[in-house]
Symmetry: C2
Subunit: 226 residues, 2 copies
């Protein structure tokens, strides 16, 4: 099957991809019938998808006035990084606390082990991708890593909030083409090490530093080539 929009698997994901890849530019009016024809479904799934994307901040809707592609996230990139710094240090802190509790109690939390194992897979997959210099795949793995950490925290609120901004973050990174990936990847292991060790403050600080570097790198490359 083709990768663009043959199978009506998840319309929201397809529209999201088209927005992130730049096929649908900010400000574009999203007419429901046009989208219905394009993705070969009826208007109803399109409407559902638009509501989902609205929640993700990728489109904006007004009653009886339709939906448009939201402004480029570059507009408030600073906000997004600021939010990430506070949000993700909090999740890392929470995850480390849970690690400490679990190891103290000696309990075997099945959910924890499962996520923890997935993180190892993600980290190794990242190494492989870097070795093969297939950097474009790194953005997805990066998002998966940060999500997995949020899941380790066990807080539904944090997961849900990260999910809320992840759409725009991904959009942002695709503009930047994830150039920092190779240098950034090893930092993930530091974060996990701190979490595993139950070092609460260090986990938070390592994560905050990681995101800050990411931010600085983003603005550096964006000022080079606007």
């Amino acid at each position: 099957m083709a990768d663009s929009h043959d199978a009506p698997l998840d319309v929201a994901a397809q529209i999201r991809t088209d927005i992130i890849k730049g096929k649908l530019e900010p400000g574009t009016k999203l007419r429901e019938v046009a989208l219905a024809e394009r993705y070969e479904v009826s208007r109803i799934p399109i409407r559902e998808a638009l509501r989902t994307l609205e929640a993700d901040g990728l489109v904006e809707s007004r009653k009886f006035s339709g939906s448009v592609v939201a402004p480029s996230p570059a507009e408030d990139a600073e906000d997004l990084f600021e939010i990430r710094i506070v949000l993700e240090s909090a999740t890392a802190k929470r995850a480390a606390r849970r690690a400490a509790e679990l190891s103290a109690g000696g309990e075997h939390d099945a959910k924890w082990s499962e996520i923890r194992a997935e993180i190892n897979e993600i980290l190794e997959a990242g190494d492989a991708v870097i070795a093969d210099e297939r950097f474009e795949d790194l953005a997805v793995l990066n998002m998966r890593f940060h999500f997995a950490v949020a899941e380790l925290s066990g807080s539904l609120s944090f997961i849900s909030l990260l999910r809320q901004i992840s759409g725009k973050i991904e959009w942002l990174y695709s503009l930047n083409l994830m150039r920092r990936g190779p240098q950034a990847w090893p930092e993930h292991r530091e974060i996990i090490a701190a979490i595993d060790a139950g070092q609460v403050e260090q986990a938070a600080e390592t994560m905050a530093r990681h995101v800050r570097r990411s931010r600085d790198s983003y603005f550096a490359t964006m000022s080079e080539r606007p």
Copy 2:
């Protein structure tokens, strides 16, 4: 017109109210046909409403498995307050910065003036409500105030994130019956004063203190009567 669910004005708002007021308890399965009958509309508006509420974190949905009322926000009240502290100090800071820019440039931003006027109305309405001891109306005004500040910040990301957690916050407060309202209300004027004056750091700190007090009051009353 009645206040419960006669007019099909906004189904999402009605379901939200029913969840917050406890008429729909966490874990309750939300069958679409049942809701359609209850609110006297078809299934389609119900589905739209459920997507909206899912984005607000009040319901959880799984494909082909329907929607259920989300777990009580009391579960992660600490997380919610922690998020609010960082998020809302950031919005207050941003709003103060914009105020400083506008007054320096001498520009008349129509949008700003409009929101600023609305805030005055909200503050006065709050005073009136307190004078009449109609405290149950204060929760709504409180949410409106915090939203208005977010709008002053001009950052769509912040507004959208606050909107994401506001549903749960409101839910949380309704469990607490907003006992701190009368003491808390004057603090809102301090926050606005700092913003108007363009005092960036003070706006952030005042807002953070406001939310921290709110948190402490919440846990105090909740420990009294669990």
